[in-house]
């Protein structure tokens, strides 16, 4: 083969490889758009795809990573609504059906409560925020602790018990700075909830008022200043979620707040020892949330996609949600293997409070750094 021939054949091969992408939507293809990181993409490719294709050999799953760029794909789907055009999207793995505004009213999203899914009744009611989104994996901030230093029966169950434990064990607790990750961020938010009657409904995305709201936050900061002298360092707040886990793993501290999925993953990988215990506050839990799948009503393969949604909620796949990605299952633990449920009993959420973003984030970051962080320094 001379150079020219080689050049031609390379072009031909490249064109061949580009063809599937250029081709029109395949009638047997289900397009899945993933917002999550590579662990979620792997989960869909390695667990859900083989399971679905085995049960429905006439369809193939096309798992596409959309990362943080999901909005234009949703817009495209909305634009195709009411036309003959196939949006080439069948399901989003993590999407807020409230966006863009008015999409629900226009009938873009499937109402799962009326879709007749066999597994819909198995859903844990605390996970449900809207019937247009189908929760399938969740994460929440919990307290991880070293059971060799603190026995599970003495693990704090309320904010008051937690503070009492910190004061009795100075230097044994730390959390990361609220700007560096949600485990520390939601610990700070839990203190704000505590100082405001443990009522998360006081904090909404649209009700931040400068001055007035800052006074509410300041009450939470006072609680944090009270415990600051008893934190590791004192006042040495770690630089991200993982560093807190690392300090716990190195036996420097006894307890840190963690994201449940990160911590379970760390235990599975041996970063955290098997002797790591988990506890959740029962007077009001730390904030967290569930990933909601959404299905557009104009999906090319709507019926087959609903079968897929049902499969994701099946106890088999939900068990894998816990064991493979360390997330919470969206269905009630009663439907999962008993030993698994027992192992994570302390992490099971009775409620999952949320804290709004927007202007609250700025106020909390600025307030915490200006008042709590300098309160004690090493």
């Amino acid at each position: 083969m001379n150079r020219r021939q080689f050049f031609r054949s390379t072009i031909a091969a490249a064109a061949l490889m580009a063809m599937p992408a250029a081709a029109m939507a395949d009638t047997s293809r289900i397009d899945v758009y993933i917002t999550g990181d590579s662990n979620i993409i792997n989960f869909w490719n390695n667990i859900i795809k083989p399971a679905y294709e085995k049960a429905n050999p006439e369809y193939t799953l096309n798992v596409v990573s959309a990362r943080n760029n999901i909005a234009p794909i949703v817009e495209r789907t909305l634009a195709a609504l009411g036309t003959d055009a196939d949006p080439q999207v069948d399901i989003f793995d993590e999407n807020d059906p409230n966006l863009p505004k008015g999409a629900i009213e226009k009938g873009l999203w499937v109402d799962f409560s009326k879709a007749g899914l066999a597994n819909y009744d198995k859903l844990n009611p605390v996970t449900l925020e809207t019937s247009f989104g189908l929760p399938y994996r969740g994460t929440q901030v919990v307290l991880a602790y070293d059971t060799t230093k603190l026995s599970p029966e003495n693990a704090p169950k309320t904010w008051a018990e937690l503070v009492a434990w910190m004061k009795a064990n100075p230097g044994q607790f730390t959390h990361n700075r609220p700007d560096t990750g949600g485990s520390g961020g939601n610990f700070v938010r839990r203190a704000i909830h505590e100082a405001n009657g443990r009522d998360p409904s006081l904090f909404r995305i649209d009700n931040y008022v400068a001055g007035e709201s800052d006074a509410m936050l300041a009450k939470g900061f006072e609680l944090l200043k009270e415990i600051a002298p008893y934190t590791y360092g004192p006042g040495s707040y770690t630089g991200d979620n993982m560093q807190s886990i690392q300090l716990l793993a190195q036996g420097v501290v006894t307890m840190v707040p963690v994201w449940s999925d990160m911590a379970l993953d760390a235990v599975n990988k041996g970063v955290l020892p098997e002797t790591t215990g988990f506890t959740q506050l029962t007077d009001l839990a730390f904030a967290g949330g569930f990933a909601d799948m959404t299905v557009p009503t104009n999906a090319g393969n709507l019926e087959a996609t609903m079968k897929l949604a049902d499969l994701v909620l099946s106890p088999e796949v939900q068990t894998k949600v816990v064991t493979e990605i360390g997330a919470f299952p969206a269905i009630s633990w009663d439907h999962l293997p008993k030993d698994l449920a027992a192992k994570y009993a302390a992490m099971q959420p009775a409620s999952i409070p949320t804290f709004p973003g927007g202007p609250w984030v700025s106020a909390i970051s600025d307030g915490w750094f200006r008042t709590v962080a300098p309160h004690v320094t090493r």
Partner: protein, 291 residues
């Protein structure tokens, strides 16, 4: 057409090509750096009034009256100064050894000293937590021989200082080494013959020859230290913050772009002083070479 005309035409063509060649980088610098910087400076110097933007020093007044911001700036200056002094103190002996030793070990030492160049700072940060962090490998070794644990530099200003010194070692060393190549062995031998001891050789022969180089190295390092982000963010204390993490948090978390730009302009002005040192030093070297 005469020969002279032809030559001048060719020269004009050459000039044009030359200008075209520099046009691309000049355009990039103007479009991607100077223009955004000008916009940022403009934003910090104006407030939106009813009849369009008007001149105001409010942003700077806030920065220089805000104890929190000033504390962060002061911390950055301190860390940058300490790091620079440590780097020069560390690099000068290594560079002298590498330049004047005939030992076969020099190759290995040079490779070791340049090694940090190839390690991303995020890896370095986590490695330092595992070694110098609390209950890290250093503590384990100390414990094994019955010594008490070290107070860990992690999450104190010394965390980023250690990381930044390690990270900037290769650059500083390379600059100082380049400067030392200007010191001829003959001049040192001559000084030795005249009875100068090692210290006198260093103080009167070597240092005067590389003073400019040391200044250049210091300027370069300081510019890098002021913009340091990863190591202070991961290893430093919550407060005071260095300017890198502070600016990021101000624009992303606190959502205050004007203050973030003000912080950037203040940082930029301080860096500009050191950049001036560097430019003057380069200009002086050029002048010396041309005469």
């Amino acid at each position: 057409m005469s020969r002279a005309e032809l030559i001048s035409q060719r020269a004009a063509g050459g000039r044009l090509i030359g200008l075209l060649l520099v046009a691309a980088p000049v355009f990039l610098v103007v479009a991607l750096i100077l223009w955004p910087v000008a916009l940022a400076v403009f934003d910090t110097l104006t407030v939106e009034g009813p009849s369009g933007p008007r001149f105001s020093l409010d942003a700077y007044r806030f920065f220089f009256s805000d104890e929190f911001s000033l504390r962060n700036l002061w911390m950055t200056i301190q860390v940058a100064t300490i790091c620079t002094v440590l780097l020069l103190l560390l690099c000068l002996p290594i560079a002298l050894y590498l330049r004047f030793s005939a030992s076969r070990l020099t190759g290995y030492i040079q490779a070791l000293a340049l090694f940090p160049l190839f390690v991303p700072s995020i890896l370095l940060a986590y490695a330092l937590i595992r070694t110098l962090g609390p209950n890290g490998s250093v503590d384990i070794l100390l414990n094994a021989v019955g010594l008490p644990k070290l107070p860990s530099p992690y999450l104190t200003p010394w965390g980023p200082i250690i990381g930044l010194v390690w990270d900037n070692l290769p650059l500083t060393l390379l600059i100082v080494l380049a400067g030392l190549s200007n010191v001829s062995r003959a001049s040192i031998d001559a000084a030795r013959d005249a009875g100068a001891n090692r210290f006198q050789v260093l103080a009167y022969i070597i240092l005067p020859r590389i003073r400019g180089t040391l200044l250049v190295a210091a300027s370069f390092v300081i510019l890098g230290l002021f913009s340091a982000f990863t190591l202070p963010y991961l290893l430093g204390p919550a407060v005071p913050e260095m300017m890198g993490p502070f600016m990021r948090r101000t624009i992303i978390e606190v959502d205050d772009p004007i203050q973030a730009r003000t912080q950037a302009v203040v940082t930029f002005l301080i860096c500009a002083i050191f950049a001036l040192f560097y430019v003057r030093s380069v200009a002086r070297t050029r002048r010396e070479q041309s005469t």
